[in-house]
Amino acid sequence: MLMVVKNQIRCTLLALKYGIMKEMLNRTSFISNVLFMILNNASMLIQWLVLYSLKDNIGGYSFKEVMLLWGLAASTYGVSRAFFASAFKLSDTINKGKLDAFLVQPKSVLLNAITTHVSSSAFGDIIFGFAMVFFYGFSLRVFLLFFLFTVTGGLILVSIAIILGSLAFFLENSEIISDNGNNLMVHFATYPDGIFKGVTKILLFTLVPVGLANYLPIQAIIEFNITKIVFVLLVTSFIVFLANLVFKIGLKKYASTNLMSARV
């Protein structure tokens, strides 16, 4: 069992290495993608700076706390897209019969299918996210917690993408649902949760679990709340398990196609 896990990790790391190598084929494009993404994220600082010049507290967050939230949103987005970019194209992979190549290999179909592409600009998001830790006020505890929640948040985003992508096993043209769902996860992540009330707030901790990927972790970092830390870890494990289960059930309905395709 241990050997199986070790070999799977070896393959996944190799796939990621080759994905990064592909992105680095054009050095100028790679570097500019990373830099422009950092700049793009940084430009939002101005918007918040203007808002906080008018008000000290927005939705229970100070300026520095909002920046930390923005940083976590960027780094979770970055981790999910940098290493698992193909999870966000899963419905296309299923619809075009591209799972065939992974099904004839003795490894995890899901893991292989979601690690075939790497997004270079997402590295800019990760760098920006960690820079916000320094902006907030660096301490080893904050840094380690931020790192932990970057991983859990990234896993939640990928898991949601897998669940939405797996709809392609059951529905036609599910790409639109998948894209909208993934976009919702990003759009809500950058606003302080205090501004949301009632049903919206419930939705943000259930159907669109931005709260579990971003809001709760930020509260856990700020308050250093062990209960919240453990809760985030448990919920992340559950969502990852659920994503695996949905994909596994869907795979039984996989119909493949005879469309010509290449692994590019």
Partner: protein, 326 residues
Amino acid sequence: MNVIEVKNLSKTFKVKIKEKGLKGSLKSIFKQKYKTIDAVKDISFEVEKGEIIAFIGPNGAGKSTTIKMLTGILYADEGSIEVLKINPTKERKRLAYEIGTVFGQKEQLWMHLTPYDNFKFFSAIYDIPEQVAEKRIEKLKILFELNDFIDTPVRNLSLGQRIRCEIVASLIHEPKVLFLDEPTIGLDPVVKENIRTLIKRMNKELKTTIFLTSHDVGDIEKLCKRVIIINHGRIVLDDSMENLKYHYLNKKIIEVKMKEKVNLDDEEGITILKDKGYNLKIEVDTQYKNVADVIKLLDPDKIIDINISNIPLENIISAIYKNEDK
């Protein structure tokens, strides 16, 4: 010893149907209609170790669906499959270590990597230790003559070179059974011939059982000793190539150059394919007339030149497809 055993295998697909035009599209929003397509209907067959078997049929006959069920890509609705005594549905990963697959229409290689890097990646997929992988790559490099382009990114290779690399990638773990789904699609005749030679050599040297689907009669004729024809999801013929060629349709083609014109109209068992005065091309149905009788009919003294050949395999296969369609 059988390496593949298929019993009463069936697979259906549910396909959405829509009426024509915008009206049909609007209707389908409120009421969706589906029809069931029987892709594979109750087929059974066995393949012995070391065989090169052709699994052929017209488009949509059920070839790829069958291959996909044999390799664990698709689940069967009914029936049982055993490949090397392994159930592909229940033990997909275990089976994957024992089989190799090449889909001519779907590339498995990473386009930006060199064939060598791809082979290293596939070695990792199959848990092959570094040193063993190096030795196998070296051996396959020689067998498939990859030396000139093993360090060139796959995207810069010609189609023929790429297919050779696809086959090597599928052989890196030394599979016992190799599934080739239209491996020579889109290749020029020289490259096709090259690939066929390599497949034959691989079968001889590595004792690999080969399950081949192809629309190219040359692939079938030159590689396979046994052929299974599938049409409309059912097996319509499972026979040796010998029998298929010489007994199934019992037809011969005779091309003659005559000293003077002959009239073969209304002769039973003879079909005139071409009549250019002194040059004649006829098809003889040996069930009604044997070749010797035809030569007598032509008058041997008046024959300048004669060529007797078997009916092309392509025509035999087409005739089987057409008969089934009727």
